[in-house]
Symmetry: C2
Subunit: 267 residues, 2 copies
């Protein structure tokens, strides 16, 4: 099963992805997480450090694929989750799509693309052009991380539109929204009323989650020493369990942009 987690930059995609990956591993799955964000810090709380990107490694090897070994690009993270950072296009040049394409190609050459129960792509969702939509070509489900604000929901709608576009030619479904860092849900509710899709979970702002990034640890690792954090892990286990149940998912009917402005913004 392949998952793609999208959302606006800074919304909590990577934090959420790392914890979902560990939750899936807790359910006995062999998981690979692939970061697809120019910020290339997707797997930081799984490994505790910034792993080199695929492009870094390929450049160091002068693009000789035959000289690249799995351990050059796949790093072991917490909970048995394997980690890869695709990174982003070089600044001012190149294309996000090329980077994702190269990453998948290399993993296939290393026979590392089909040996996992779950592969999770963590993807920047601010643009969702042809390039950044590339992970959707491989995904069975897309999950969108959003808060209760206009900008993140506008990005969510473009992501939903991309899923609809790709679902015409790929077996892709939208599993739903993950609300994050918010206790309010009024705009999220308004949005899903006009563009029906499941809301898998809504996580409030939790200081321990913010701290997890400073510590370079997932909530699961922190909960080993502080069991009072188990309630936070339950959010992520709940998401993992819903995905493992192979939900129907939806082919969303995104809202026209103008309607979205009228619906969600205080214009």
């Amino acid at each position: 099963m392949k998952l793609a987690v999208y959302g606006k930059g800074g919304i909590g995609k990577s934090t959420t992805s790392c914890n979902i990956s560990v939750a899936l591993a807790k359910r006995g799955k062999k998981v690979l997480q692939i970061g697809c964000d120019p910020k290339h810090d997707s797997t930081f709380t799984l490994t505790g450090f910034l792993i080199p990107t695929i492009i870094d490694t390929l450049q160091a090897k002068d693009y000789h694929y035959e000289d690249v070994w799995p351990e050059d690009v796949i790093y072991k993270g917490y909970g048995g989750v394997d980690c890869v950072e695709a990174g982003g296009p070089p600044a001012g040049a190149g294309c996000g799509g090329y980077v994702v394409g190269e990453t998948v190609k290399l993993l296939k050459e290393l026979n590392a693309f089909d040996e996992y129960d779950v592969i999770l792509f963590d993807v920047l969702g601010d643009v969702v052009c042809g390039g950044f939509a590339a992970p959707l070509n491989y995904a069975d489900y897309c999950m969108i991380v959003t808060d209760n604000g206009f900008d993140a929901l506008f990005a969510a709608n473009r992501i939903a539109a991309s899923v609809r576009e790709k679902a015409r030619t790929h077996p892709l479904r939208l599993a739903g929204l993950i609300g994050n860092r918010t206790s309010k849900r009024d705009l999220i509710e308004k949005y899903v009323e006009s563009v029906p899709m499941p809301v898998l979970e809504v996580l409030p702002l939790i200081e321990d989650i913010r701290v997890s990034r400073v510590k370079g640890k997932t909530l699961f690792e922190m909960a080993e020493k502080d069991p009072s954090l188990n309630y936070v892990c339950d959010y992520y286990l709940n998401i993992a369990d819903q995905i493992l149940a192979r939900p129907e998912g939806v082919v969303p009917n995104d809202s026209p942009d103008r309607d979205l402005f009228a619906l969600l913004s205080d214009f």
Copy 2:
């Protein structure tokens, strides 16, 4: 003179751009603002509504450039500023670079690209791939809008790297940073210490600026009825005056990503 305003999504690029455009017009310049963000609301506070995007218009005319008149795509905004929305690539397909390229091509065909004293491109800066770097090909100066947080400064560094890349083949300089919605400057100061560049202005979070978007008006238009807002307009006039003075600018020496994480984030 051509300007490119970049920054992370939601940082305040469009609000800042519209007010800078009016400030330049107050100084007697004929200004065109071109929005280059999939959110296509760049010129909203200049016009008070969402103008159709270039791609919308071209599609409506079946891409017959000869049937497109200037008034189909160029809308009159407040203070005599003309407005164009390039928009973004269709969700899940296409390329941000194509949209910008088509926009400039069309404006040149309409003899509208060289009749302005200033053209200001308002560009989404989360990715700065080859596509979203396209406006830098036309710009004399780039300005980067940031707050005092890690994500926006990480984006700023990638934008600076793109300017350095483009400055090798174009007469482009980085005019500097515009801090926005922040009263703290410690991370901004840390960043410019390691990557020297001017800080043109720092605007705190001002409720009237947030409200300006709700009202669909620039601060200049609001100050007509409420002169106590003149102090806010002064921030933008200060930026405009610095740019009109044709500063030296810099070819920034962006920081390697890993250093940036060590420098700015609380990892």
